[in-house]
Assembly symmetry: C2
Homo-oligomer: 317 residues x 2
């Protein structure tokens, strides 16, 4: 894996111990109805039940807890309008330090409310990437806070890897482990952990057809940025990170695509048969599995349901 030094299994196990008091050990659920439809045995790791409603709580907690005393005293900062913003604000609150969150002025009120609810300090900026980055630089300069990126960051990847660790500890005899891919923090951490702990398990990703930069990058063998993504899976719009691509191109077996209607159908199946609330991004791996049943026939498959933060007034069914 090039010359980059990625976390060891011991380091990931230490991260799991470190964040244990601050995150949930989420349950693994099954549905005999969905198994019958899918033709394989599926174990759903329910990160929709995680603190802040998404796996992001893991990486943010790990990154904050690994700061030195001195760094902590000055707080943390990031730019995000999604789950990472809330996760970092909460991790900082738990650690008793300030969190500066740069958010575009047009970010949904509900996202701002979540960040404020965890005591995060919101700094608004123009709604474009350049303004976000410039504003963040200024905040970091003025406050001395440490920038915690959402996915392209070693301590965040190490934290997200604890999810797969819990899965393998509970279900060691899997054939396949699936996760969605957006920036690649969850998928990268998952692939790393499986490689270190049980490399015979295949890691397969699900990605929306309408935001397929990871698929394109994986095929081309080089990072191809996302342009004009269009999908209901709003957690997967972003471009794959550099560290994440390195892990994914080396350790992931395959990236399978799912169409919008397949994502919505899979999402509906989870609501109706499992009676749980997930966000569209969570449905992408199941959608990809159902679109490629022959690959999974008779296998034991774990799927990470990445989060449950969805606008209930705008469900697609």
């Amino acid at each position: 894996m090039e010359s980059t030094q990625f976390p060891s299994l011991e380091a990931i196990k230490s991260a799991a111990e470190r964040i244990k008091p601050f995150v949930h050990h989420t349950p693994i659920l099954s549905s005999s109805a969905i198994n019958e439809i899918a033709g394989c045995e599926i174990f759903f790791k329910c990160e929709n039940f995680q603190k802040v409603g998404a796996f992001k709580a893991r990486g943010a907690a790990n990154a904050v807890l690994k700061l030195s005393e001195e760094e902590r005293s000055l707080g943390v900062a990031t730019h995000s309008s999604g789950n990472h913003a809330a996760a970092l604000a909460r991790a900082a609150k738990v650690a008793g330090i300030p969190a500066y969150i740069v958010m575009p002025s047009n970010a949904p009120e509900i996202k701002k409310k979540a960040v404020k609810g965890y005591g995060g300090i919101i700094i608004e900026c123009e709604p474009n990437l350049q303004a976000r980055e410039t504003t963040l630089e200024k905040v970091v300069e003025e406050t001395g806070a440490t920038f915690i990126p959402p996915y392209d960051f070693m301590d965040v990847i190490e934290g997200q890897a604890t999810c797969a660790l819990e899965i393998l500890e509970e279900k060691p005899d899997l054939d396949i482990l699936m996760a969605p891919v957006g920036g690649g923090g969850l998928l990268g951490g998952t692939a790393l952990l499986v490689h270190l702990m049980k490399p015979e398990i295949k890691v397969i990703a699900g990605e929306p057809e309408g935001a397929d930069d990871a698929f394109q990058s994986f095929q081309a063998g080089k990072l191809i940025p996302q342009t004009g993504p269009k999908t209901i899976a709003d957690g997967l719009l972003t471009s794959l990170g550099k560290l994440n691509f390195e892990l994914i191109s080396d350790l992931v077996e395959e990236i399978l695509l799912a169409s919008e209607s397949e994502i919505i159908e899979a999402m509906r199946l989870v609501y109706e048969r499992m009676k749980i609330v997930i966000e569209p991004s969570s449905a992408v791996p199941l959608a990809a599995l159902l679109a490629n049943k022959e690959k999974f026939a008779g296998k034991k498959v774990a799927i990470i349901l990445s989060g449950g933060n969805v606008d209930l007034g705008k469900l697609p069914f």
Copy 2:
């Protein structure tokens, strides 16, 4: 309790063993966010995760399994357009016997589909109570099937009581146990079990203001039938049964009412904070609790989430 002979604790424990292979031992979940809002500690018994998506699977399984060989060979019958129809069809399928389900011709297609999915034989009738009863009588006469009523029936009440048994085995130090009340099968069984096993725990019911026959009957000390119910909690429209009223009037501490907006608000809270899918009826006890916080301050309260069968295209938010 008059002269009626209700099931003993031993009988309910036997019922739990009897139905064990055919129903889920459902989990108990908590939400620190909801506890904070409520000012007490709440344990949600998730019967929305139960087979057929509702506690009804328990009573139906118990009733079918208690039939004699001879009775079984002729099958079972009921009239219902709700969860009991699906639950009885499934229990019969598991036992390998026919289930004749009388349904009004205007029953929703989704309900008919559920019954057919479990192999139930649907007999349609005019959409009024008299037609349902006459048609059922005819079916029973022609087939020799045993009529299994949805709630006013001892073996069904005994089966529903196994839900509270699981709660008390897992959380013996409760102060209060809450259930919704419609026909009273779940509430009656719950009150009976608590009375037999741990009478110091108070049983409190939640009922919609728009279908308050149990509240009226409880106050008056006599059974007052439901007329013109109007509530989103479609599992609670029916009149309280006779056996159920006997149990409830003797063993329930109090029936608290919830308005439609309180029910919807509580339902939304469960979706947003717990990330689980419940039907409106399930939200009624939490709604009643939140409307009467002072009664529950600092207490340990279990709430039965009775089911999760909801039309996702018609969520009230």
